[in-house]
């Protein structure tokens, strides 16, 4: 079993606020993309080891039998910061249908357009979120293009530990409520241990500046 690195309460609060600012940015991007007003909720964050991810994920999707998962890699382009990892966005089947309806995709929804929709929304969410996180810890990030990790499959299969490169996962639960219905998805940032350590140092540095 992977050892779970823990965050202190101050670090967790600090990271949650950073993610909150980031999700505000992503919410705005999503609102523009969907042309609706998006109600934001407080994002919940926690760290889990990647071996425990399938179980955590099953809980997060509320027992949904089938999910879609999209992966997108990120790395810092500024030297010496060493931020790198992979973002996963998980959509439950129900949310996915709602999203498609919002985008008026329902008439011509086929596997190709569905996948396109997943990739588009993932790109909007991860880039907005990670850019803001990067900005707040003063590192500039670049991304690989998103790809489908699992399409309509049980959570355990979609995010099986052997598919994942990194040992630690920062789970971010995001819930956006839209004017016409709700849509939730989960964003996970998977990172190697040493990057979590870099992140923790950056958080401590930020916290010190407010003392």
């Amino acid at each position: 079993m992977t050892e779970i690195l823990s965050l202190t309460e101050d670090q967790r609060d600090c990271l949650q606020e950073i993610v909150n600012v980031a999700m505000g940015q992503a919410g705005d991007s999503l609102a523009r993309f969907l042309e609706v007003f998006v109600h934001l909720s407080v994002p919940r964050i926690r760290l889990v080891g990647s071996s425990e991810l399938p179980e955590a994920l099953t809980q997060l999707v509320g027992g949904a039998e089938s999910i879609c998962a999209v992966r997108q890699g990120f790395y810092s382009i500024s030297s010496g910061k060493g931020m790198r990892g992979e973002a996963l966005v998980i959509f439950g089947d129900k949310s996915f249908k709602e999203l498609a309806e919002l985008l008026a995709y329902e008439d011509d929804l086929n596997e190709h357009t569905e996948k396109e929709l997943l990739l588009d929304v993932t790109n909007v969410l991860t880039s907005a979120c990670l850019n803001r996180i990067g900005e707040q810890i003063e590192t500039e990030l670049a991304y690989s293009s998103p790809s489908i990790l699992g399409f309509r499959m049980p959570p355990q299969e979609a995010v099986s530990p052997e598919k994942l490169i990194w040992s630690q996962a920062l789970l971010v639960e995001i819930h956006y409520t839209l004017e016409k219905g709700s849509f939730s998805c989960n964003l996970m940032l998977l990172m190697p241990e040493e990057v979590i350590e870099i992140l923790k140092k950056a958080l401590d540095h930020l916290l010190e500046s407010f003392e």
């Binding site: 101050d10 609060d13 600090c14 949650q16 606020e17 909150n20 600012v21 980031a22 999700m23 505000g24 940015q25 919410g27 705005d28 609102a31 007003f37 998006v38 934001l40 909720s41 407080v42 707040q136 930020l206 916290l207 500046s209 407010f210 003392e211």
Partner: protein
């Protein structure tokens, strides 16, 4: 007399960030609230003539606080400080009685500009 100033945000870091961004010689008496319910209570107790209010909070959110302030007729000057940067969020809070809207993360320069704009400094 110092101005009773309420900083209402569920994040401890965000509260510190706002406090740290306050103009140095501003004569204020700061109270903190960790959610909207605590916030409205502090306003009722006269601790928030001036309020810096977050929007996404548990218990009662910022929209709820603005609504209650309106309903109960408190004379609070409220500036929303939020991560919700949708233009419509700004319109909504101003409609609900907020004086202005500042994007998170806040910094002292932005805050001073807004306070000066309304002659609050």
């Amino acid at each position: 007399m110092p101005i009773p100033l309420l900083i209402c945000d569920d994040s401890a870091m965000a509260r510190k960030q706002v406090r740290k961004s306050l103009p140095t010689h501003w004569d204020v008496d700061v109270t903190f609230a960790e959610n909207g319910a605590q916030g409205i209570q502090a306003i009722r107790e006269g601790k928030g003539e001036m309020v810096f209010l977050d929007l996404t909070m548990p218990e009662l959110d910022g929209y709820g606080v603005l609504q209650k302030v309106k309903e109960e007729g408190h004379k609070a000057v409220i500036i929303v400080i939020s991560a919700d940067i949708q233009p419509e969020a700004r319109e909504r809070v101003v409609k609900l009685g907020a004086l202005d809207f500042i994007k998170k993360p806040i910094d002292s320069q932005k805050l001073e500009e807004v306070l000066k704009k309304y002659g609050l400094l």
